[in-house]
């Protein structure tokens, strides 16, 4: 699929959303990225990325519950679309192809 280029950051965001499986929104994704990858991202960068991904069609979203902790504001939840899954697959296969083409280290690296 052409035009499904994913930046590095976008990729991990998408993956995290996939992991969170229906419970992905700004704060939870931020937490996930922090826990899993030790990566600190600002809410605003995350937010922008998620909306951009939605515009590209890789995510779809809806407004969920409002809670007291959120001062009565609803949260926007995201899930990965089929297109998004495709893009992730594409990215993954591209990387694997490149890795296999690498000469000396390829045998060792396949394991990690």
């Amino acid at each position: 699929m052409k035009g499904t280029y994913l930046g590095e950051f976008e990729e991990i965001v998408l993956l995290s959303i996939g992991i969170l499986d229906g419970n992905a929104y700004g704060v939870s994704v931020q937490k996930e990225l922090g826990d899993q990858l030790g990566r600190r991202v600002t809410l605003s960068a995350l937010h922008t990325a998620m909306h951009r991904l939605e515009k590209k069609g890789f995510l779809e979203s809806w407004l969920g519950d409002a809670t007291k902790e959120r001062g009565g504001k609803r949260k926007r939840l995201f899930t990965v679309t089929a297109l998004g899954r495709d893009a992730l697959e594409n990215s993954r296969s591209t990387r694997e192809k490149l890795w296999q083409s690498m000469p000396a280290l390829s045998a060792q690296k396949i394991q990690s």
Partner: protein, 873 residues
């Protein structure tokens, strides 16, 4: 429901976020941020959490998140606010009208003040070189006196140009001359014409109507005339090339027409003549009857010129000044734009304004607006409290509170906007009278000027913001339950603020009233003081032209033929005129001669008797027979004392050197009692009368009071007969003399008007506050009533807090008034003593007024049926 912490993130951050963020994104972003905030609160204190929150908000401030286009809903929301604001304003009509009234008056006053201040500050700025033009003035020190004058010697300009680097050009012109122009057998005369130097128009680029700038003063015998004079002399403006006969100077050609001089210029010429540059290059350093201006080269600072002046003075002027004045002196520069407000030298071109008055006017406007704002703030606070109570009945969340804030701002904006429009509409009504009082000629078209519009908009904005912000901020501070329980002490600390502000209003009002009364009293005093001469029933006839000794004599005799005419005298200046002074040489008690700055007036032998001035030594002037023209002088007591004579007799016979080209020195033949030839602003100065009728151009006629109209007509007729003049003027000496106080009187009127306004506003403000207070205490009052208290009991209970307020106001007002009064009275060499009685009486009256207002308001609510208030719960 989980217990939510009552802590909210910083209000401003929330506000900011909801302001810039796109609608569709706002909720989720705000929610996320709040969630993280809550989490943070469990790990750190509120302040830190708030900081992080704010930083995050700022991080969301990026292009993709900003709402640029107001969507439909936003607009409708504002419309809604406006509607509610409107409805509220109409609902509380009383308050609305009160505020509108105050704001409109305040804004109107501020427009007038803006126009006045800007005009005064703009003098001389319409010339393109104004930044580089400086006047060269002189300071002369004589043995016992000094003279600072705007005049200078003829060759000053051209010599400075040659010897001092940094000067691009100079312009010089003569003392004002009266010229008479003969046009087609008709004579036209103008007292304000001057001979100018060749480069005059290069330095002063006055706008021209016709003629070529570089050619106008190219040839000698050229004449530049103003538009209006051209019209009145020639009836048209196609007169370039016309040759006119200038009395005493030969034939001149009109080479150009210039636009009429602007009002805001320190120099307003109508006729400029050029007769070659020799006048300004001749080596006559002793003749100081010129004005010299220099134009500095681009980039040259005045300091560079200033440091060369001392050597320059030494080289050219030290000797002449020594000879003329037996003294020394120095030259100094005045920036042209400084002249109008800061210069007070001898021989100024036009009467100048004074810096202090501009400041005073500006402050006046500021105070009025302040007083109005305070009323608005107080009233708005009162309303806020009432309204919060209404709202507080429902559950108050953060958004409701915010809504009230916005509501207040909108209302304040609406009212301020309305008032600003009304103020402009009212302007045409007040402008003519203001012009009269301020001696200006403003018209409405000037409103369009950028500076005026800008200043006005700023004032309107500040007023609106001040007025709206006070209740808005005030609102955001309190908690809901406090509103329900003790609405009054909502204020606890707040209420006294309103009272403090109101007290401030009364301080302003009181000070202004005291000043007004003082001005009035001083002017009364000035008008009634014994001046040392008779000014009642003396007619002053200004012939504007010298008519020669013979015709003066003839005219005098003719006038005396009327039985109602008692005495006639001739003089150069009358008391109250701009009397000239110069450094003249007098013989001192020790026989040496000294230069003394003296006022002088040329008169004939009837002057002293006509004005009934007392002679303390010597004699009056005799006729031409005994006193040859110019050889006799009558000095006043002050001069005699200055010269060191211990008693007036000793001065008789002493000599004085007058610069009128006499063959020998003149002698003092008499000493007169000091009289106030000038207004009481000035201390009595050394003054001499010289017996020199030929240069007299006005007559002083003492008449008896009966048949005034007849006598005046008679005078008029005789003048026509004898002199054929068309430009003379007749007035009464006392009125002419009092014209010196005109500016003060007008200013006093302005003050009177504004102080009454301020008093009105302050009283209204107080009334409002009192009624509000009474309403809240209504329950209490009525319970007392039921228990048997009568009006006086209740009154005394509440009145002492107002008494305190008044006393505070008086306490501050009195010293401020004393200080200001002292300052102002310094303007007069002779003034009333500090009007302590006024201070006391005015304060007393004010206290009474306040007590009255408070009592009335109390009474009003006292008489209302108690059940009405008891129900209101």
């Amino acid at each position: 429901m989980k217990e939510n912490s009552n802590q909210t993130p910083p209000q401003w951050a929330i506000f900011f976020l909801s302001w810039f963020c796109r609608e569709e994104l706002l909720e989720e972003i705000e929610g996320d941020l709040k969630e993280v905030y809550e989490e943070d609160l469990s790990r750190m204190n509120r302040f830190k959490a708030g900081m992080f929150y704010s930083v995050r908000v700022l991080s969301f401030f990026k292009l993709s998140n900003i709402q640029f286009v107001k969507s439909g809903t936003n607009l409708m929301l504002w419309k809604n606010y406006l509607l509610i604001a409107n409805r509220n304003l109409i609902k509380h009509k009383g308050y609305t009208i009160f505020n509108l009234f105050g704001l409109t008056i305040g804004l109107c006053a501020s427009i007038l003040m803006i126009m006045y201040v800007l005009d005064e500050l703009s003098y001389d700025k319409h010339l393109s070189n104004y930044n580089r033009i400086y006047r060269v003035a002189e300071h002369i020190d004589m043995e016992n006196s000094e003279m600072r004058a705007a005049i200078s010697p003829g060759p000053l300009g051209s010599t400075m140009l040659k010897e001092i680097p940094g000067i691009e050009a100079f312009a010089a012109f003569t003392y004002a001359n009266r010229i008479t122009v003969n046009v087609n057998e008709q004579k036209f005369s103008d007292p304000n014409s001057r001979m100018v130097s060749k480069n005059f128009l290069y330095v002063f680029d006055l706008p021209l109507v016709s003629g070529i700038r570089d050619e106008i003063f190219d040839q000698p015998k050229s004449l530049l005339i103003s538009e209006s004079r051209a019209l009145s002399f020639f009836g048209g403006s196609d007169i370039i090339g016309t040759v006119v006969d200038v009395d005493g100077n030969g034939k001149f050609t009109i080479t150009g027409i210039m636009k009429d001089p602007m009002e805001n210029a320190h120099f307003q010429p109508h006729l400029l003549l050029y007769n070659g540059n020799e006048l300004f290059e001749k080596y006559q350093w002793k003749d100081h009857s010129y004005y010299t201006y220099i134009l500095l080269k681009d980039g040259v600072g005045a300091g560079q010129i200033k440091e060369r002046l001392p050597t320059f003075f030494e080289k050219h002027l030290e000797q002449p000044v020594k000879e003329s004045f037996s003294g020394t002196g120095y030259l100094f520069l005045q920036k042209m734009t400084d002249i109008h407000l800061n210069s007070d030298l001898g021989f100024e071109l036009e009467p100048n304004g004074k810096y202090q008055y501009v400041v005073a006017m500006a402050l006046l406007a500021v105070f009025i607006v302040l007083v109005v704002c305070i009323n608005y703030m107080n009233m708005a606070t009162v309303q806020a409290t009432r309204r919060v109570k209404e709202v507080g009945i429902r559950k108050v969340l953060g958004s409701n509170r915010r809504m009230l804030m916005v509501q207040f701002f909108t209302e304040s904006a609406l009212i301020t906007f309305l008032s600003s429009i009304l103020a402009i509409l009212l302007l045409p009504i007040f402008l003519p009278y203001f012009n009269f009082l301020a001696d200006k000629s403003f018209d409405l078209s000037q409103l369009v000027q950028r500076e005026i519009m800008f200043s006005y908009v700023m004032i309107v904005l500040i007023t609106g913001i001040l007025g709206g912000s006070y209740p808005a901020i005030f609102l955001s501070r309190f908690k809901v339950d406090e509103v329900m329980k003790k609405s009054y002490s909502l204020g606890g600390f707040r209420m006294p603020v309103s009272k403090v502000l109101n007290a401030f209003q009364f301080v302003v009002a009181l000070v202004m009233i005291m000043l007004t009364f003082t001005v009035q009293r001083q002017i009364e005093y000035a008008k009634n003081k014994d001046l040392g001469f008779d000014k009642e029933n003396v007619v002053k006839i200004d012939l504007k032209n010298r008519i020669g000794a013979e015709r003066t004599q003839t005219l005098q005799n003719e006038l005396l033929s009327n039985p109602n005419v008692l005495k006639v005298a001739a003089a150069m200046k009358a008391p109250g005129d701009d009397i000239m002074s110069d450094g003249l040489h007098f013989e001192q008690s020790d026989g040496s001669f000294t230069s003394q700055k003296t006022e002088f007036n040329a008169v004939n032998e009837n002057f002293i008797s006509t004005l009934n001035i007392e002679l303390v030594a010597g004699r009056d002037f005799g006729g031409q027979a005994s006193d040859k023209w110019g050889h006799s002088v009558i000095a006043n007591e002050t001069l005699v004392k200055q010269l060191g004579y211990s008693n007036s007799e000793d001065a008789l016979g002493k000599e004085v050197e007058l610069p009128i080209g006499l063959d020998k020195r003149s002698k003092i033949v008499g000493v007169m009692k000091d009289s106030h030839m000038k207004s009481l602003h000035h201390a009595v100065s050394p003054h001499i009368l010289v017996n020199f009728a030929p240069i007299a151009s006005l007559l002083l006629v003492k008449i008896n009071g009966s048949n005034l109209q007849e006598t005046l007509t008679f005078l008029e007729d005789k003048i026509q007969e004898t002199t054929n003049s068309t430009s003379h003027s007749i007035s009464f000496l006392d009125q002419a003399y009092w014209k010196q106080y005109q500016a003060e009187e007008k200013r006093g009127k302005i003050f009177a008007i504004f102080s009454s306004l301020v008093v009105l506003l302050a009283v209204m403000g107080l009334a409002g506050l009192v009624s509000f207070f009474i309403r809240f205490k209504a329950k209490e009052i009525n319970i007392r009533k039921i228990l048997g208290a009568d009006f006086w009991n209740v009154l005394t209970l509440y009145i002492h807090q107002y008494v305190f307020q008044i006393l505070v106001a008086v306490f501050f007002a009195v010293p401020i008034s004393i200080y200001l009064i002292k300052e102002w009275l310094q303007n007069f060499a002779y003034h009333i003593p500090l009007p302590y009685d006024l201070l006391i009486s005015n304060s007393f009256v004010l206290v009474l007024i306040i007590l009255l207002v408070v009592s009335l308001q109390c009474r009003k609510s006292f008489l209302v049926n108690p059940t009405k208030y008891l129900k209101e719960e």
